[in-house]
Symmetry: C2
Subunit: 393 residues, 2 copies
């Protein structure tokens, strides 16, 4: 990808609470997030020039298509180009990437990215990791796959079940401070380890929940920003990649993630040492440990000791998933990538209340979607910067 | 949308035959279309820098997600940004629009748009026109909606059932000349009128079939074109819009279409008098009649007499749906918009064999997706030009 000719900014963000929203439609949830984002941006619906709507499960679980058009219609937004996108768990981040692309290349000045899902699985069904026609028939479903990854990481790097459990404990602690999180209760290491075994070594509290919810981000050119100075958050990097699917690579890292993170740091002109917080894809406890390594927050294989040290907790050196992450905030896959950005924007504006990372200036959001061969089908990394935040520190 | 800084070109096109592909997967069909397009473009898989994959029904009917990644994996394309898109019947055209956008704004130089669907509907189920949660529960399914539209057009403009049937007769004649079409058999007006009634006045042969198939288009910057001069096809306009959903407007036209067509003509610097052929969204016979009016091929309300005059048949003043259209070529919704462009590119290169429109220089593809209020959820118009084709005439 060439370098974009201009900066793109986050004009506004919005999200619903995550959890169970029985009786509410995808449109209803999506509209709430969009209204919040518009209000936050100080923009009218008519300002939106294009929209990308992500839903990973709306078609397969709810039988809904045209979700973007439906929710925008209810919001009074019409006539503009609307594209519905799907990239498994990276769906929301993909919508954001396309919105960013439109603004950064000057196609439009105000573009909406919204993501929504209701993840109630029909009884007895499982979320497919690969294609329904091949991998899933071979047993490739997410908990099984990530249990293998955890076993391999334990074997290769000495990672322990207590270190993995600490990810869940930390993220539930963070979630207890987040009024929009699905779970507001703390858990202990013992509770994580003693919860029902899903796929050894992953117990129930080692896995993120299925969730309902929506999140939205308005991407704007500089002249459409209401809040400048201390409130302005710039998208310093937006990178979307897919895997190389090398079946011979060891399972303890994703090549797509290393490559995407490297590109994002290069685009932003920043490195891991510049990050004040990160939101990563903790679908399983082991995932966060590997993502911390991929982001360069610690050496390869040292993600377990890193979380055990407290460095990634609020108040630590580099807080990871201050929102509670997928583990506690919840995981409607169409929305999660945008919810990560919601959290980072709140943090960079100093509006994260009891979760505030003091003087946060740079945040990174990482999320992956799907699985194929030995890699992700989609990996998205966004780096957000508040250039003025240093003045607050 | 601002004006793009450079031209984008069609580097290559490919498609499978449309019809029933029992036992073949979405990935298998999509890969075949992509291989054809790469071969046509003279490019290797590694040249592709980004890809958009459209499937309107893959998630809801086949339970597949990440279809783009799956089919590209099988093709040896990986690492690049891949986005799965859905916009109902405009899905394939939406993938093309995004690919065009990336090239025209200089984000990438070679971008792949592919669309694929298998449309076998489960017994007793119907394709939803609006949302599953609202319109469909109120009975808003496509044949019923288009029967109302046809009735209204007959009442307002004197359109006759024989004129509508002539659309099906003409498109089946065209389809009989297209080896990739689902139906290669001619039908008579009597056969159309006497086929089983679906929703009065629309009989079975007034409705497009459900189809399986895939189509792909490679969009390139000028320097990646293998064929220049007589073989080079330029994307002169690519416009995507959504409806205004005005419930009070009369049913005999779509505001989204009028607006999108107007913008496309303006972007291309061309008008209806410049068209040598058009591929339009003849999901039902009445649809083609209304689309001809919207394109300005005749006056408002005169689409019936236009088709009856033979002007839109091969050999006529302005051939419409020389491929056979949705009626005879078939309609896998993820692929149809790209199949329209496949046909136009073949025509503009003089490679359409028995369907060739002599000296074709300018072609327009129009397609719509979904329904909401009284308009489409998505309308896409592409205008393609072979600047050198005049020398062949």
């Amino acid at each position: 990808m060439t370098k974009p000719p201009r900066h793109a900014w986050v004009g506004g963000v919005g999200m619903t609470s995550f959890g169970r929203h029985v009786g509410r439609s995808l449109s209803d949830l999506g509209r709430e997030a969009c209204v919040d984002a518009l209000r936050d941006a100080g923009l009218m619906p008519a300002s939106v020039q294009a929209a990308y709507c992500g839903s990973a499960l709306g078609a397969s679980l709810q039988g809904e298509t045209g979700i973007g058009q439906s929710l925008l219609w209810e919001l009074g937004i019409h006539g503009i180009p609307v594209v519905n996108v799907e990239n498994a768990c990276a769906t929301g981040a993909t919508a954001l990437h396309l919105a960013w692309r439109d603004v950064a290349w000057g196609v439009h000045d105000v573009v909406l990215a919204v993501g929504v899902d209701k993840s109630v699985m029909p009884k007895g069904s499982v979320l497919k990791a690969g294609t329904a026609q091949l991998e899933t028939q071979l047993g490739d479903i997410f908990p099984g796959l990530f249990a293998l990854i955890a076993q391999k990481h334990m074997q290769a790097h000495g990672t322990t079940v207590r270190q993995m459990a600490q990810v869940s404990v930390k993220n539930h602690e963070h979630g207890a401070l987040n009024p929009l999180a699905q779970f507001n209760k703390r858990v202990t290491i013992e509770q994580v380890l003693e919860s029902p075994m899903v796929a050894d070594p992953l117990t129930l509290f080692s896995c993120c929940p299925n969730s309902d919810g929506a999140a939205a981000v308005l991407v704007c050119s500089a002249d459409r920003l209401r809040e400048r100075g201390a409130g302005a958050v710039r998208v310093a990097a937006s990178v979307l990649g897919s895997g190389d699917y090398d079946p011979m690579r060891d399972l303890t890292f994703w090549e797509s993630e290393l490559r995407t993170v490297r590109q994002a740091y290069a685009d932003a002109g920043l490195g891991p040492q510049d990050l004040d917080l990160a939101e990563v894809h903790d679908a399983f406890t082991i995932s966060e440990i590997i993502h911390c390594e991929a982001l360069g927050l610690c050496d390869r294989g040292q993600g377990g000791p890193l979380v055990a040290s407290g460095a990634t907790a609020l108040g630590g050196r580099i807080p990871v998933n201050p929102s509670g992450g997928l583990q506690a905030r919840g995981h409607p896959p169409g929305a999660s990538g945008l919810a990560q950005v919601f959290e980072i924007v709140m943090q960079l504006r100093g509006q994260a209340a009891r979760r505030q990372v003091d003087g946060a200036r740079v945040g990174l959001a990482q999320i992956m979607g799907g699985s194929k061969g030995n890699d992700s089908q989609a990996c998205a990394v966004h780096i957000l910067v508040n250039d003025e935040a240093a003045s607050r520190a």
